[in-house]
Amino acid sequence: MSTPIIDTNVFLGRWPFRRLPLDEAALLAKALRERGVKQAWAGSFDALLHHDVDGVNGRLAAMCQRTDEKLFLPLGTVNPALPDWEEDLRRCQEKYRMRGIRVFPNYHRYALNDAAFVKLLKLATERGMLVQLAVSMEDERTQHPLVQVPQVDLAPLVEVIKTVPGVRLQLLNAFRSLRPDLLLKLVNAGHVSVEIATLEGVAGIEELLKQVPVERLLFGSLAPLFYFEAAALKLQESKFSDVQDKAIRRENAARLMAR
C-alpha cells in the first residue's frame, strides 16, 4: 500500500475565472481522502484578489475546521503591500492557529527584494511559521485579458534568503518559469523547498532529483484548480527508491511543518 500523502498545495473557495469540479470543500475533502491524502495544506482562492485579507483568513480557518479539520491545514495569506499587514500575520498565528502563510507576490504586486516582503519573511521566521510563495497560478497564455499576472521573478530571492537565517520557504507552482540553475542557487541559499504541481517533462521528478536533494521536494497537486491525478501520476512516471517515494509523498512535508 502506498504511503499516505501530504498534499502541500490545495486551495479552498472559488477560482475567480471558472467553476471547478471540486471547488466545494466537502467534495474536495472526499476526493483527497479517497486518493490517500492524509493532510492537505490549504490556502484560499479569495486571497488572490481580496483586500480584506483577514476576512479571507477567517473564512479559510472556519472552512477547514468545519469541513475536515484533520485533513485541511489552513495557511492564511499576508499581503505586505497592504496597510497593517503585520496584524494579519499576528492573527494568522495567534487567532487562527495557522502554522504557516501563503503569499502571492505577483497578484499583490511587490518584488521579492521589497523591504516589506523581507520584513515579512523575518517576522514569519521569528514566529516559526512556514512561508509558501506562489510563483504563478495559471499559464499566462490563457489568463483573462483584464487580469494578466506575470510569473514572480525569483532572482532577487537568492540574496534575500541569505539575510533571513532559519527561514523555511516553499515555492508553489514554480516550474513554468524556474530554471534549474536558479533553483539550485535557491536551494543552496537557504531552506527552500519546491512541490511538483507544475513540474513538466517526462519522468520529471527523476530528472529533478539529479539536481535537487530529495529532502527539498514535496508533493503538491494544486487541486482543485488542477486534476489531482496529474500530480499523483508523476510519482508513477518517475523511477526512484522507496525511501525517496516516502520522502516526497509525506515525510519531507511532515518534517518541514514540524520544525
Binding site: 499566462e140 517526462v202 488542477f226 486534476y227 491525478e229 501520476l233 508513477q236
Partner: protein
C-alpha cells in the same frame, strides 16, 4: 487503461535517435502509454523550416520508427510556406514511406489556400491531419493558427477529418470555436492539467471527438493523462479519449498501408 498518445516528440535525452526512443517508450510504459505519434524530428523544433530542414526532420522521424514501428507512428512535417516541397515530402514520406499523416505547426496559418492544398493531399492518402492551434492572451506570432482558423479550414473541407492540437490552447474558447465542425477532433495536449478541461470538451463536442495527447517529452505523460483519469466521466468515455478515438482516426491510413494494430 491503455493510452494512445497522439502528440509526442523526440526530446528525451539520448546520444542517438534510437536511444531517445528507448527512453521515451520506457517512460511511456510506466503510465500505460501503448502507442505514440511522433513528429518534427529531433530538437530544436523549427518554427519556420526551410524545405531542406523539413526533409531532415522527416528523415529523423522515420529513423525513429525503424525499431519502434510496433509502438510508434510518425507524421510528416509540412509547411504552408513551402507548398511544392511539402507536397513532395508527403509523396516521399506518406504515399511511398512509413509516415501516416501530416503535422502543421506555426509557419503559416491554416486558413490559407497554401495549407488547404496540403491538407487536401494528405486526405487523398487517408492520412491523419493535425494542426497546432493556440489562442494566446498576449497575442499570437504571425504564422500561428487560432482555433478559429482551424474552424474556418474545417468549414471549407467538411469531409476532411482533422485534429486540432491543444484544443486551441485557450480550451474554453477553442472547444466552442470547433464545436460546429464535426470533422474536427479536439486534442488535449500541452497545457496545464486544469480541472474541467476534458469535461467541457466532452460536453461541447462529444466524447467521440476528444483525443488524448501529451506533447511529451517536453510535457509529462502523467500531467496530461491526469486530464483524462482525473475526470468523473464514465470509463467508456475515458477509453474513447485515451485511445479509441485515435484508433478510429488512424484506421483508414493503416488499412491503406496494410498495417495492423
Amino acid at each position: 487503461m491503455k493510452f494512445w498518445d497522439s502528440h509526442c516528440h523526440l526530446s528525451t535525452p539520448g546520444r542517438t535517435i534510437d536511444e531517445r526512443m528507448g527512453r521515451l517508450m520506457e517512460i511511456a510504459d510506466r503510465v500505460g502509454v501503448e502507442r505514440v505519434v511522433l513528429s518534427m524530428g529531433l530538437p530544436p523544433l523549427l518554427t519556420n523550416p526551410t524545405p531542406e530542414q523539413l526533409r531532415k526532420k522527416n528523415d529523423e522521424t522515420m529513423e525513429a520508427l525503424l525499431h519502434w514501428n510496433h509502438r510508434a507512428f510518425g507524421l510528416c512535417y509540412v509547411s504552408g510556406e513551402h507548398v511544392e516541397e511539402s507536397l513532395k515530402e508527403i509523396d516521399r514520406c506518406v504515399a511511398k514511406g512509413p509516415l501516416i499523416g501530416i503535422k502543421l505547426w506555426v509557419a503559416k496559418r491554416c486558413n490559407t489556400p497554401e495549407v488547404e492544398t496540403l491538407v487536401k493531399r494528405a486526405h487523398e492518402l487517408k492520412g491523419l491531419i493535425v494542426q497546432h492551434a493556440w489562442q494566446k492572451t498576449g497575442g499570437n506570432p504571425p504564422g500561428e493558427s487560432t482555433p478559429q482558423d482551424v474552424a474556418e479550414l474545417a468549414g471549407r473541407l467538411p469531409e476532411v477529418p482533422m485534429v486540432c492540437y491543444h484544443a486551441g490552447g485557450n480550451w474554453e474558447a477553442g472547444t466552442r470555436a470547433l464545436r460546429p465542425h464535426k470533422n474536427v477532433y479536439v486534442e488535449i495536449a500541452g497545457s496545464n492539467p486544469t480541472a474541467g478541461f476534458v469535461e467541457m470538451a466532452v460536453r461541447e463536442v462529444g466524447a467521440e471527438r476528444v483525443v488524448y495527447g501529451s506533447d511529451a517529452a517536453g510535457r509529462s505523460f502523467a500531467s496530461q493523462i491526469g486530464k483524462v483519469l482525473g475526470t468523473q466521466l464514465p470509463e467508456a468515455t475515458k477509453e474513447l479519449i485515451a485511445s479509441g478515438n485515435l484508433q478510429r482516426l488512424l484506421t483508414p491510413i493503416l488499412k491503406a498501408k496494410g498495417m495492423t494494430v
